[in-house]
Amino acid sequence: MTTPALSITDLRKSFGPAKIIQGVNLEIEKGERHAIIGPNGAGKSTLFNLISGGYHPTSGSIRLNGTEIGGTKPYLINRMGLSRSFQVSNIFANMSVRENVRCGVLYSMGYGYSFWRNVGNLKEVQRKTAEILEKVDLLDKANLPAALLPYADQRTLEIAITIAGGAEVILLDEPTAGMSHSETERAVALIKQATEGKTLVIVEHDMGVVFNMADRISVLVYGEIIATGAPSEIRGDPRVREAYLGDEADALENGDAA
């Protein structure tokens, strides 16, 4: 068996006395689409922060393709091929959409801190930027300032920046939060297409999205994973119902997501 894309063992994180992540174990295979669900405050975003380098783990280990990355700086992790999006849109508001995506592209194309090249002349960068913009369907808005985009498009741009660097492992934190039904559907299609063949970890409260996209689902409650499994297993798990889904489980069974 190949090394898992992401392997987390006994990960813990406390803020002062508050133990937020209390021993998470998780393995995510290459190419898998994995959803993490759980009640508000369970620690999902915190887990993402730990994986992507935003926080230092209190203890435990996180391996990306077999390499330990716990406590490594975010930009180093990013260069190793892991990229994330944010629950609250976190884009470069004063730049155009194109420039936003280009920021995501530059490092991966090897132009790091270069100060002797004109970005206008970097053909591959331009091509890659265009490719990403096309993928997320923002090509026609490429020259708009990001701050002026409608909310849903900002969320999309958030995803675009995340995938721009060509990372193999992608973490998306509630990518469809605040979107309407139709927008959500579009976003799901887009995410599916853009992460084709990559490892995807996604946090979502929209069960429609989760059950539609995920190969496997983990349920995080109070900093612990209480269940991991295929969507069908999770739906039936009484603990999950109790802790998270509540009445909605029935709705799901009726095929009528909220």
Partner: protein
């Protein structure tokens, strides 16, 4: 209690509200439904003075359009915005204290009573509010507004981004608040909640109220639902 007639509002050049009319009686829970972007939040903002309103808005018989937001608040109008706007660097307790309008006049609740009602918050009482999870933040925002003893609360999308189970809790909480005699204007997308707790329903489309009636009537009107709510 609150009466809105021919309310218009603009963002720059775009005409978002095109003559909204509605009325809320004391003790009522009103749900304002509508698709994304039809202007429900804008209605709330216009009432609260955050967006300059054109038209007539009276609260308890007094016109409030053009008033400063703190004056509106002092008249007994509370607001829980979509963006929640908790004060991230302050503790949960401090956030609650800030909800008190006048330290000299004791309100219905003390901070401690409030924390007793919501054990989730009590557990985080001395943490910075910025690190709360989404659901905790939503609760905090509502509690904070309650601290000021409002007579009418406008609540904008309280369940957005919340786990399914919490959604229900929040619904219960709003019903609970309504029982204490506070009027509520609830801007909500999730029909299950809105219909469960509302006395009356307004449906909004393109910056106007297109339908109003009781939840029971609403359930009957498949056509309204199809035309104005579904995509």
């Amino acid at each position: 209690m609150l009466k809105v007639s021919d309310l218009h509002a603009f963002y720059g050049k775009s005409h978002v509200l095109r003559g909204v009319n509605m009325e809320i009686m004391p003790g009522e829970v009103i749900a304002l439904l509508g698709r994304n972007g039809v202007g429900r939040s804008t209605t709330a903002k216009a009432i609260m003075g955050e967006v300059p309103p054109k038209g007539e808005i009276t609260f308890k018989g007094k016109p409030i359009s053009g008033m400063e937001s703190h004056q509106i608040a002092h008249m007994g109008l509370g607001y829980v915005p979509e963006s929640r706007d908790i004060f991230p660097t302050m503790t949960v307790r401090e956030n609650l204290i800030l909800g008190i309008k006048n330290m000299k006049v004791p309100g219905k609740y003390t901070v401690d009573q409030m924390l007793d009602m919501f054990p989730n918050l009590r557990a985080r009482a001395d943490n910075a509010a910025g690190v709360l999870s989404g659901g905790e933040k939503q609760m905090l925002t509502m509690c904070r507004t309650l601290m000021g003893d409002p007579e009418l609360i406008i609540i904008d999308e309280p369940t957005e981004g919340l786990a399914p189970k919490i959604v229900h809790q929040i619904g219960d909480m709003i019903a609970e608040i309504a029982k204490t005699g506070v009027s509520i204007l609830l801007v909500e997308q999730k029909l299950s909640i809105a219909l469960r707790i509302a006395n009356r329903v307004y449906v909004m489309g393109h910056g106007e109220i297109v339908w109003s009636g009781t939840p029971e009537d609403f359930r009957e009107r498949e056509d309204v639902r199809k035309e104005w709510l579904e995509v």
